[in-house]
């Protein structure tokens, strides 16, 4: 090993350590920022170190690409609003997977002679998962950005088609490992993987996006790790493994929070709850109590404790700042305000936390499901803002319900519930929510943001 090679490897080792420390720092919000800045330093080190690689003979393409990437990446980092974070994250998985796939193709092409089997296995894995993630992430991006319908697109035999496609892709992969020189099969497999990415995300509805985005995060990481195997680079393997583990863990957490098995997640067979099943019990003879903003304001202003339960509706209405304003007013009147965050509220893991943090809500007021659930009994008012399935008591009580068994926020146990909702249309999954008909529930209809603004005005007037 030459001195130059040794130095590069030492730099990679230092970068790997910085990356792991960076992720470790994320276990506490106070230390996280510094830790991630150190990780960024690790990245700079790795890039600079790589430039001394003996194979690099020309720098023009590298320089232009680095500049171009920075010009595109800077606005994606600095100017994308927090409400657009799910689609921002989804598209970044596409870029990561694209880089891995292209390196894989070039390695296959430029190997100069037959590719050894072990390398072929790594390359095959790399392009298979890479290509699948490229189109899958683009579809997820499209659905979140809403230029592709956010509703699940389903047809008969969809799962059969998807599993067959996946099976064929795996067969091609095995064939390639046996006969690496089959260029046609290599590119056919990439084509199939691209198609598979589209088909995999097609049946998935908006509310299931947290699982998909985490899963794609994991796939992008695995593709990176496979790149590391193919070009025998340890820092790539390490980072790919970290990313893969993180995405895997998040998708397990998300699927648990939705009471879906992980096998269900892996095969993308989710989001396909049949409408007949989702109809739920008849609700015709149940009555809904509507409340005026004035009454709701009085109820909250004289409460001891108010728990705010945000959902995707708050993100859509971009109401997080008004929520904070209302909370400030209530606190001035001596009300304790807490926020209950369900793990799958919103469109990606941690979506609600980021939005509320953006609105300057201190993070120690944001409570996870397990911590806040015992508190609802002591709360005078639970204010549900654009959340539906995550507060549906049917998940606890009705074995017929498609969401039965899903852990929910026990909003119905608080003394009073005020639900901000556009209309009585059922939520995403089309599941009837009996919380809305409960004796202690009153509904405040209208767009979340304008309802909150009215509440703010009313509380001010008190």
């Amino acid at each position: 090993m030459s001195v130059r090679e040794l130095v590069i490897q030492a730099i990679y080792l230092a970068s790997s350590v910085l990356f792991i420390l960076g992720l470790k720092s994320l276990s506490h919000p106070d230390k996280a920022r510094l830790g991630m800045q150190q990780a960024a330093l690790g990245m700079v080190l790795a890039i600079v170190g790589t430039l001394f690689h003996h194979e690099i003979v020309r720098f023009d393409l590298i320089a232009v690409a680095l500049i171009l990437g920075t010009v595109i990446g800077y606005p994606l980092g600095m100017f994308v609003p927090m409400t657009a974070m799910p689609q921002r994250i989804a598209i970044s998985h596409m870029f990561g997977a694209l880089a891995a796939t292209l390196v894989g193709i070039a390695e296959y092409q430029g190997h100069g002679g037959p590719v050894p089997r072990s390398t072929m296995a790594a390359l095959g894995f790399e392009v298979l998962f890479g290509a699948l993630t490229v189109t899958g992430s683009f579809m997820a991006f499209g659905k979140l950005q809403e230029f592709i319908t956010g509703k699940p697109v389903t047809y008969r035999g969809q799962n059969t088609v998807n599993i067959t496609l996946f099976g064929v892709a795996v067969l091609m992969f095995v064939f390639l490992v046996a006969r690496p020189e089959s260029t046609v099969v290599f590119f056919a497999m990439i084509g199939l993987a691209l198609l598979l990415g589209v088909f995999m995300v097609l049946p998935i509805g908006g509310a299931d996006m947290p699982v998909v985005v985490s899963l794609l995060n994991s796939y992008a990481g695995l593709a990176s790790a496979a790149t590391g195997f193919a070009i025998q680079n340890n820092v790539l393997i390490i980072c790919g493994a970290l990313d893969g583990a993180s995405g895997f863990l998040l998708s397990v957490l998300m699927s648990k929070a939705m009471n879906r098995s992980f096998g269900n997640v892996l095969f993308g067979a989710f989001g396909s709850v049949s409408p007949a099943l989702a109809a739920g019990p008849d609700s015709k003879d149940l009555t809904v109590r509507s409340v005026s903003a004035e009454d709701a304001a009085i109820q909250m202003a004289y409460a001891g404790q108010v728990i705010v339960v945000p959902g995707y509706g708050m993100a859509v209405a971009q109401a997080q700042h008004v929520v904070r304003e209302l909370a400030d007013l209530l606190e001035k009147k001596g009300v304790t305000v807490k926020y209950a965050i369900h793990p799958v509220a919103g469109r990606m893991p941690g979506h609600m936390n980021v939005l509320l943090a953006e609105a300057n809500v201190p993070y120690d007021r944001l409570y996870d499901m397990e911590d806040i659930n015992p508190e609802f009994e002591r709360a005078d008012v639970a204010l549900v803002i654009g959340a539906n399935d995550v507060v549906n008591p049917a998940a606890r009580s009705d074995p017929q319900s498609p969401i039965y068994g899903m852990p929910i926020l026990d909003v119905d146990k608080s003394k009073g519930v005020i639900v901000l909702k556009r209309s009585m249309n059922p939520g995403f999954a089309g599941i009837e929510n009996h919380l809305f008909y409960a004796r202690n529930t009153s509904m405040l209809f209208g767009d979340a943001k304008s309802s909150l603004t009215r509440l703010v005005t009313e509380v001010k007037a008190l």
């Binding site: 393409l61 680095l66 070039a106 606190e331 304790t336």
Partner: protein, 110 residues
């Protein structure tokens, strides 16, 4: 033999990752995603060699696009993670009223 060592590295790194990431609170799950995304853009290391090795035209262009895509994630990923983490603040002063209400509130965490 080398690929066995690489497998060791992969498995051990995955374990470290699992252990470290289990401790990340749900509060920071979105920054976690953007952070791992930025970190996995280390595939830039592979793309850089490809773009600079001058093997043939196809490899050059594949490398060029790969470097661009990975750089987008490096720059955008670290910036957006920092931007998000900057927003997570503790409550500086306890809200007025919280003290006398602490009894019924079950003690607000602080």
């Amino acid at each position: 033999m080398t690929s066995i060592i690489e497998l060791y590295v992969f498995v051990l790194a995955a374990f470290v990752g699992y252990q470290v990431i289990t401790r990340v609170p749900p509060l920071l799950h979105t920054p976690l995603m953007s952070a791992t995304n930025a970190i996995s853009a280390i595939s830039l290391v592979g793309s850089l060699v490809l773009a600079g090795a001058n093997r043939d035209n196809i490899s050059n262009w594949l490398g060029f696009v790969a470097v661009t895509a990975a750089t987008i994630n490096v720059v955008g990923g670290f910036l957006i993670t920092d931007r998000m983490l900057k927003m997570f603040r503790r409550d500086v002063k306890p809200p007025p009223g919280a003290v006398e209400k602490a009894g019924q509130g079950g003690g607000a965490a602080r």
